[in-house]
């Protein structure tokens, strides 16, 4: 067993790794480095309840402070690593400190993708990834303000929902022909488009942003050849994995740090977990996931491997989003050419879309439909064959679907 584990990244994966390492009986030292001034906290509420003002900051933290003391985990916050020396087995921080390790976990997460267009550095343009981002946004989030959101993905739409509730004047620009195109199927996109429009959101599809305009401070956003007056812009156009440390250390990376099913990188002493990894999915297809589930589960599996009891990671991915009174829950990953089965009527605001391949479920997208989500997730896990016509028949309860 190792004697000294260093974790780079103090997010969901980092915190989980500490929990699991101690639960698995690891008694050596743990140091966790985070580049924010905060102990690990939950990111999902940032664009939802925290922005809404219904969840105060203290409630975001994943663990109380005493957890790190009791777990004998040294938290090195507001600090970041600048290099890994694989031969000497050390991590060097920007402030010059050097930390030795027997094993290293890269839980470096992802950072927002910056938009590149004229005016992108004007005051008034916001991004959303951390507590400080939301605090900055909250300071200007007032009724009547004109908010332009660039990107109709999870972040953009969750913020749009909060802003509409706060009576801001909201416009969303999405470059694709539907919202959340990377995450959900067309019928779910269509449904959420109708919901946002009904809430008063001006949703412009097939519209990329060409420029931000203003003298020092944002005054307008040009999109589709038209300038829209704006007080605030929020850019939510995806994230990029933080893999530079790994790359510089000569570890293979694709769109993320390459790991095997035990979350081991090409170096047997270096592991990676969460948004930063390029890993093999359940179906054998390599991919990168941005989710709480993947952060938690990969961190657990990395910890199992670190203490010498590896168990291959093959959990079914799951995701959720809250917008207005709607809970979107997704399990599994849909693939092109899956058979798509609709259960329930979107008009009722409670329905699910199943994706089937060769008679078993690849993925389920459920809107206010917890049993469809939960049963779907279990059936995906088990690979059970399901008759599509039964799935479509709402008179058959999900419990009896197989």
């Amino acid at each position: 067993m190792p004697h000294r584990i260093v974790i780079i990244g103090a997010g969901q994966a980092g915190a989980q790794a500490v929990t699991t390492l101690r639960a698995e009986g690891y008694t050596g030292a743990i140091a966790m480095i985070g580049d924010e001034p905060f102990a690990p906290y939950q990111r999902p509420p940032l664009s939802k309840a925290y922005l809404m003002g219904t969840l105060e900051r203290a409630r975001l933290f994943l663990k109380p402070e005493m957890f790190y003391q009791e777990s004998d985990c040294e938290l090195i916050l507001d600090a970041s690593a600048c290099a890994i020396n694989r031969t000497a087995k050390t991590v060097t921080l920007f402030d010059g400190r050097t930390l030795p390790f027997d094993m290293l976990l890269l839980a470096t997460g992802a950072r927002v993708r910056r938009i590149k267009c004229p005016g992108a550095n004007l005051v008034g343009i916001h991004y959303l990834r951390g507590i400080a981002d939301v605090d900055g946004l909250n300071a200007v989030f007032q009724p009547g303000k004109r908010l332009v959101i660039v990107g109709g993905g999870y972040i953009g739409l969750e913020v749009a929902a909060v802003a509409a509730k706060h009576s801001l004047d909201v416009t969303v620009f999405e470059a694709m022909d539907r919202v959340m195109a990377r995450a959900v199927s067309k019928s779910v996109s269509d449904f959420f488009e109708r919901v946002h429009r009904a809430a008063g959101v001006n949703l412009q599809l097939n519209t990329g942003v060409e420029a931000f305009e203003g003298a020092g401070r944002l005054e307008g956003v040009r999109a589709g050849g038209v300038t829209y007056p704006a007080d605030i812009a929020l850019v939510g156009v995806g994230v990029v994995p933080n893999m530079e440390l790994a790359l510089d250390a000569g570890l293979p990376c694709e769109d993320g740090i390459v790991v095997d099913r035990n979350c081991v990188t090409a170096d047997p002493a270096i592991f990676a977990a969460g948004d930063c990894t390029w890993h093999v999915g359940r179906e054998g297809i390599p991919l990168r996931l941005e989710s709480v589930q993947n952060a938690i589960d990969q961190a657990k599996h990395a910890a199992y491997a670190m203490v010498g009891r590896p168990r291959a990671y093959s959990e079914v991915p799951w995701f959720w989003s809250d917008q207005y009174d709607l809970k979107l829950q997704i399990a599994g990953l849909a693939r092109p050419n899956d058979q798509v089965v609709l259960r329930g009527d979107p008009v009722s605001r409670k329905f699910a879309v199943f994706h089937l391949r060769d008679g078993s479920i690849d993925a389920v997208e459920a809107v206010n439909a917890a049993s469809e989500y939960l049963v779907g997730r279990k059936l995906i896990e088990a690979g059970t064959r399901v008759a599509p016509e039964r799935l479509a028949d709402t008179s058959t309860p999900m419990k009896n679907i197989v």
């Binding site: 663990k63 709480v292 809970k327 917890a370």
Partner: protein, 106 residues
């Protein structure tokens, strides 16, 4: 501050102060009470914060909403006094609440 008593499967009792407005799940997690995972952090998305409510307290709790009801249907070892602790908001009236944590959340 309302006090909540968490009893684990080995009958170990832990009584902690939980601020009004927090959930029973948060009261556990923020005080390192074991037995509640709450992977989703309280979004009613994962069903890993299942608890058993002391029968004397059952009727004093706000009723389950549809989403909680359904999520519970699929949690392991569900009983008539099962609740998802992320869906119970602590109020001064719940001072003294007693809940038990299950053997497993998965």
């Amino acid at each position: 501050m309302p006090k909540i008593k968490y009893i684990d499967e080995k009958s170990m009792e832990r009584e902690v102060d939980v601020p009004a407005g927090w959930s029973v799940m948060e009261g556990a997690v923020k005080n390192l009470v074991p037995g509640i995972d709450a992977d989703c952090g309280g979004a009613c998305a994962c069903a890993t914060c299942h608890i058993y409510v002391d029968p004397a307290w059952l009727e004093k709790l706000p009723p389950k909403r549809d989403m909680e009801e359904t999520m519970l249907d699929f949690a392991p070892d569900v009983q008539s006094n099962s609740r998802l602790s992320c869906q119970i908001t602590v109020t001064p009236e719940l001072d003294g609440l007693i809940v038990r944590t299950p053997k497993t959340q998965h």
